[in-house]
C-alpha cells in the first residue's frame, strides 16, 4: 500500500518514512519489528524466534549461536551441552540452583531493606513492623530466611557432588578453588544476616561465632574487635554486620561467581569418568550427535525450573503451617538464654569447641586446617583419574568428614554436655528459653486459677492442665534420679494478675541430698490471652 507522505524539509531525514515510501506500510512495520527483535535477542529475527519455539531444526548458518557470541546475557552460557550432562543426573543442576538462590536472596533482601534500619534502637521494632504492618512482609521475610538456609544446604551438596564425581581434577582445579571461596562467602553472608533482627537468638548466636574468631592466634583480638566494632556487639557491630551482609560479601560473591562460572563454561561440564580415557578431558569436544542446544531445550528446562522453584519457595512460607522465621524477644546483652545455640551450619564448630581448647578446636582446626584443605584439595590430590576406583583415599576422607561433621553437629547442639541443674532443666521443658514450649502455647482459657501439684496431674480440672502437669511431673521425677535431689515435687500456681493476664509460677521443691535442707527453684511466666505463641518462633 502506498501512503502519500508530504515532502519534508531536506535536513530532516527519517529512514522509516523512506521505507514506507519504497516498501509500503505493512512491510516497513514488519521489517522494523524484525529489526528490533534481532537487536533485543542479539541475533534472532522473528521467524528465528518462532522456529526456536516450534522446535524446528535451525537454518544454516545457525542464528541461535549469535546471542551467545554477541549478546551480554548469554555470553557465558554454553551454546550446547553434552547429552550426558543436560539432565538432572549427574549434577542435579545444583550449581544452577545455588545461583538461583543467590538471585532470590538478593531480590527478597532488597524488598526487606525498604523497611529495615540497622540500629539496635529500631531494628527489632522494624522487624515487628515488617511482620505486622507491611502487606506480605512476613512472607517476604520467611522466603528470605528459608532461601538462605536452603542455599547453604545446596552449596554444600554441590560441593559434595563435585567432589564425588572428581570434577575438581585437572584442568578444573581453579574452578574448585573459587567454589571454596563461594562456600565461605555463603556461610558468612548467612551468618551476618542472622544478627539483623536483633532478637535474643541473633545476638547470642553471633556472639558465640564472634568469640570463636577471637580465638585466632595473634590477630584474634583485633579480628574480634573489627567484627564487633566495640567491646561487645552493639550499634557498631550491627552496622558492620549489615554492611557485610548486604554489600561487601555479596560483591565478593558476585565476583567469585563470575570467575567460577566463566571457568565452568570455559572448561565445560566434566563428563562421567567411565566415558573418557583416564587423564583426558573431552568436555569441550562434543560430537554433533551428542549436542543438546541451549535453545530451546535447555532454556525451556531452566525456565521451567525457575517457575517451579518460585512456586515452591512462595508456597513453603505461604500459609500458617508453612515455614516461618522465628522472632524471639528483644536482644538483651545482659541475659543469655538457656540452650542458646549458633546457626545450624556452624554447630560442627561448636561441637568441636566442646572437645577442648578454643584456640585449637575453634580457630586452628576449622579455619586453619579444614577450610584451607578444602580449597586447595585439587592441588594436593593430583592423580589424573576421576574414576572412583582410583580415588579411594580421597573418597574415604570425604565419607569420614561427612560422618564426623554430623557427629560434631550433634555435639554442638545445646543438649549435648550443656546442662544446668536438674530443677532448672525440669522447668525448662515446660518453659524453654529459646522457643515457646508447651506452657506458652497451651489454650489460655483452659488454665484455671489455683495451686496445683504436679504429682496430682490426674485430678487436674482441665485436660490441658493435666497434660502440662503430667509432663512436669515426669521431668521432676527425672531430677529425682540425681542423689542431690531427694523427693522433688513440682508445683504450678496460676493467678489472675490483670485483665487477660495470668501469672504462672512453676516451682520445684526438694530436699538437698547432702545437707538435708529444703530447697526450691521457681520461674514465673506471665501469659496474656492474645499472645498467640506458636507462630514459628
Amino acid at each position: 500500500m502506498r501512503v502519500p507522505i508530504p515532502p519534508l524539509p531536506s535536513f530532516i531525514h527519517l529512514p522509516f518514512l523512506d521505507d514506507i515510501k519504497h516498501k509500503g506500510l505493512k512491510k516497513s512495520v514488519t521489517d522494523l519489528a524484525d529489526d528490533w527483535t534481532t537487536r533485543i535477542t542479539s541475533g534472532l529475527n522473528i521467524s528465528d524466534v518462532r522456529s526456536v519455539l516450534r522446535g524446528d531444526t535451525p537454518r544454516r548458518p545457525n542464528p541461535r549461536l549469535t546471542p551467545h557470541a554477541e549478546g551480554f546475557w548469554l555470553h557465558m552460557k554454553p551454546t550446547y551441552y553434552h547429552n550426558l550432562m543436560d539432565g538432572l543426573y549427574p549434577t542435579f543442576r545444583l550449581g544452577w540452583l545455588a545461583t538461583f538462590f543467590f538471585a532470590w536472596e538478593i531480590l527478597t533482601g532488597i524488598y526487606l531493606m525498604v523497611f529495615y534500619t540497622p540500629s539496635p534502637l529500631v531494628a527489632y521494632e522494624n522487624m515487628l513492623g515488617i511482620l505486622s504492618n507491611v502487606p506480605f512482609g512476613r512472607w517476604m521475610r520467611d522466603t528470605h530466611k528459608l532461601g538462605g538456609e536452603l542455599m547453604v544446604i545446596i552449596v554444600a551438596l554441590h560441593m559434595l557432588r563435585s567432589f564425588v564425581t572428581g570434577s575438581y581434577k585437572r584442568p578444573r582445579q581453579f574452578t574448585w578453588a573459587t567454589g571454596g571461596i563461594l562456600l565461605i562467602v555463603t556461610l558468612f553472608v548467612s551468618f551476618f544476616g542472622y544478627l539483623l533482627p536483633w532478637d535474643q537468638l541473633s545476638l547470642w548466636a553471633v556472639t558465640i561465632g564472634a568469640s570463636t574468631a577471637e580465638a585466632t592466634p595473634l590477630v584474634g583480638r583485633e579480628m574480634d574487635l573489627l567484627l564487633r566494632g566495640g567491646p561487645e556487639i552493639g550499634a557498631n557491630g550491627l552496622l558492620r554486620a549489615y554492611l557485610l551482609h548486604v554489600i561487601a560479601l555479596p560483591v565478593v560473591g558476585v565476583i567469585a561467581l563470575g570467575v567460577h562460572y566463566y571457568k565452568v563454561t570455559h572448561h565445560g561440564f566434566s563428563l562421567p569418568p567411565e566415558v573418557e580415557e583416564v587423564g583426558t578431558d573431552t568436555a569441550r569436544k562434543v560430537p554433533m550427535e551428542a549436542r543438546v542446544y541451549f535453545m530451546p531445550k535447555v532454556m525451556t528446562r531452566e525456565l521451567a525450573y525457575v517457575s517451579v522453584l518460585v512456586l515452591l519457595l512462595l508456597a513453603a512460607s505461604a500459609f500458617s503451617w508453612g515455614y516461618h522465621a522465628p522472632l524471639e524477644p528483644h536482644a538483651d546483652p545482659l541475659v543469655t538464654p538457656l540452650h542458646t545455640t549458633s546457626p545450624w551450619y556452624f554447630l560442627w564448630i561448636q561441637g568441636m569447641m566442646k572437645l577442648g581448647d578454643k584456640l585449637i578446636f575453634g580457630a586452628i582446626i576449622p579455619f586453619g586446617i579444614v577450610l584451607p584443605l578444602i580449597v586447595v584439595w585439587p592441588y594436593l590430590e593430583v592423580g589424573p583419574s576421576r574414576r572412583y576406583g582410583s580415588r579411594r583415599f580421597g573418597l574415604s576422607i570425604a565419607a569420614f568428614s561427612l560422618i564426623g561433621t554430623a557427629v560434631l553437629t550433634y555435639m554442638g547442639t545445646p543438649w549435648f554436655a550443656v546442662e544446668t541443674s536438674p530443677d532448672q532443666e525440669a522447668v525448662a521443658v515446660l518453659l524453654p528459653q529459646t522457643s515457646p514450649g508447651p506452657l506458652r502455647q497451651a489454650d489460655w482459657e483452659q488454665l484455671p486459677y489455683g495451686t496445683f501439684e504436679a504429682g496430682q496431674w490426674a485430678q487436674a480440672p482441665t485436660r490441658t492442665l493435666s497434660r502440662l502437669l503430667e509432663t512436669f511431673d515426669e521431668e521432676v521425677e527425672k531430677a529425682g534420679r540425681d542423689p542431690r535431689y531427694v523427693g522433688p515435687e513440682g508445683l504450678m500456681i496460676i493467678e489472675d494478675w490483670q485483665p487477660d493476664l495470668k501469672k504462672i509460677t512453676l516451682r520445684v521443691v526438694w530436699t538437698d541430698g547432702e545437707t538435708g535442707e529444703a530447697d526450691a527453684f521457681s520461674q514465673v511466666q506471665y501469659l496474656h490471652r492474645f499472645s498467640d505463641y506458636g507462630q514459628g518462633e
Binding site: R54, T57, R60, Y111, V114, P135, F136
Partner: protein, 218 residues
C-alpha cells in the same frame, strides 16, 4: 530431518517474514507460558507496590485525625492550629462572610474548614497575622483571608482543604466537605445538632478554586 522440518527450513532460509509459518501447538503453549510469566510479573508488581506503599495510621499526618467538637474555635474567631495534621481549623461566621476584602466570585457558607497549612504557591507554611486579620506567606508574599481565599500574591488558587466529616456519637456521618464550583474549592461544613466529633482525612485534599486576579478573584 522430517518433511515438516525441511519445509520449515526452506521457508526460513527464503527469508520469509514472520507470518509465513503456521502456528504449532508447541509454539502456542510457549506463548501461553509467556503470558503466564507476564501475569506473574504483573502480580509481583502489584505485591511489590502494596508491600512498599506507605501506610498511614490514624493520628499521623497522612491518616485520619478525629477531633472532638469542643476543639472547634468559636465562629469568627482566629484560626486554630493543628501542627500534627498540618491544618488550620477555621470557623466561618457571618462576620467573616461579610468581610469587604472577600471576592464575590467564591460563594461561601458559614461553617468549618480544615485548611492545609502549605501555601499553594511553592510549598512554604503560611502564617496567621492577627493584626492584618489574614494569612500571609513569608516566602513570596501570598496573602489569604481566613476563609482561605487568596487576596494577593503569586499563588494562583485558593488554599487547599482537607476532606472533613462530622460524625455523631454512633459514628454516623452527618455532614461532609464536598467539592463545589465544578469540583474545585471545598465547601464549608456547618455543624448539625448531635455532632460529636470531626474526622479530618489528611490523606485527601480538595484543591482551592483558581484565583489569579489582583486583589483576588477569577
Amino acid at each position: 530431518m522430517t518433511d515438516a522440518d525441511n519445509q520449515a527450513a526452506q521457508a526460513q532460509s527464503a527469508g520469509a517474514g514472520a507470518g509465513s509459518l503456521p502456528l504449532t501447538r508447541r509454539e502456542f503453549l510457549y506463548y501461553l507460558w509467556g503470558s503466564s510469566m507476564a501475569v506473574f510479573l504483573a502480580g509481583s508488581g502489584g505485591v511489590s507496590i502494596w508491600f512498599a506503599l506507605p501506610r498511614f495510621r490514624a493520628g499521623e499526618f497522612g491518616g485520619v485525625f478525629t477531633l472532638p467538637i469542643e476543639e472547634i474555635p468559636p465562629p469568627d474567631s482566629g484560626p486554630k492550629e493543628f501542627p500534627d495534621g498540618r491544618f488550620w481549623l477555621v470557623n466561618i461566621g457571618e462576620a467573616t462572610l461579610s468581610d469587604p476584602r472577600q471576592p464575590s466570585d467564591y460563594p461561601l457558607q458559614p461553617g468549618i474548614r480544615a485548611l492545609y497549612k502549605v501555601c499553594v504557591h511553592l510549598g512554604c507554611l503560611y502564617k496567621w497575622t492577627p493584626n492584618n486579620d489574614r494569612f500571609e506567606c513569608p516566602c513570596h508574599g501570598s496573602k489569604y483571608l481566613k476563609t482561605g481565599t487568596r487576596i494577593d500574591g503569586p499563588a494562583n488558587r485558593n488554599l487547599d482543604q482537607y476532606i472533613m466529616e462530622v460524625i455523631d456519637a454512633s459514628g454516623l456521618v452527618l455532614a461532609r466537605a464536598e467539592p463545589s464550583m465544578d469540583g474545585r474549592e471545598g465547601a464549608s461544613v456547618p455543624i448539625p445538632a448531635g455532632a460529636v466529633a470531626l474526622r479530618i482525612d489528611t490523606g485527601r485534599r480538595i484543591n482551592g478554586a483558581p484565583n489569579t486576579r489582583a486583589g483576588g478573584g477569577l
